[in-house]
Amino acid sequence: MRLTYPTSIRIVRVPCTGKVDVGHLLRAIEKGADGVYVVGCKEGECHYKKGNFRARKRVEQAKKILASIGSDEGRVEMYNLSSSDAPLFVKYAGEMDAKIRNLGPNPLKKKNRRAA
């Protein structure tokens, strides 16, 4: 298919999205990532039954925490797709990239650099 997706995206592989914790998402933002999104299997199709539902809850929790401290909750998102659905992966990647570009750089990145 030779599809392309934005080069701004770095993939962190996990055995299942159920492995992703609130702490991982927050840490990424704290360390200066402009956005983090979790791409899990389609709902109801998790190999471990509930992993993607757990991930979604954690994403929601991370959003709440970010909102409570005045950060943009849109920097954390969750998407679901089938692992063989490359066009949808590319579509979501584009969506997230556009959304984050719209939000602008993570303000914490600048502050972290200054502190360093």
Binding site: V22, L26, I65, S68, I69, G70, P107, L108, K111
Partner: protein, 222 residues
Amino acid sequence: MIVADKKPVEEIIEYVKDHSKILVLGCNECVTVCEAGGKKEVGILASTLRMYFANQGRDAAVDERTLERQCDHEYLEEIRDIADQYDAIVSIACGVGIQFTAEKYLSIPVYPGVNTCFLGVTEQRGLWTERCQACGNCILAYTGGICPVSRCAKRILNGPCGGSSKGTCEISKDLDCAWQLIIDRLKAIDRLDLYEKMFPIKDWSTDRAGGPRKVVREDVQI
């Protein structure tokens, strides 16, 4: 275990917003099991506070530490060497741990990061329910192992009240009537005779009404 629940981040921020060197202190025991104050929660709270201060343009340091317990001298002593570096500690242990930390580190403000709720069990993941009120005078031997003090809304000791309906309590359809549970259990173990038996008035002097309590065990004292 002692069951605690997370405090809203906004409330914790209100406590610490004027401090600049903060230690978030977790506990590896009960609050870890009820997912309110263990190492993972320490990481999340500390990260949240760091981002809050960065957003505010404040230069504040928030460090993380989780002790085996906060209710014993030896574990709390582990931070003796570093405690002076901080101008505030947020303890996310239960109320016991928070208080003992405050007692040990007199010159450092210690703030609670959780609300301590009750002594209970993990009924299922994410659902904790009360089982004991630590009344100090256990009667479980006569009530089929089900405690009317902690599980009956009225703490009735001699059978269900008029509010018991189809096995549930009048205060909520979702709450089992403790006395229905007791009778069912006594039937199951063939000890309904205990339900007929007259008991003397319960000694409540060991309950909280007598003020803060203590257990003195000379046999184990050194």
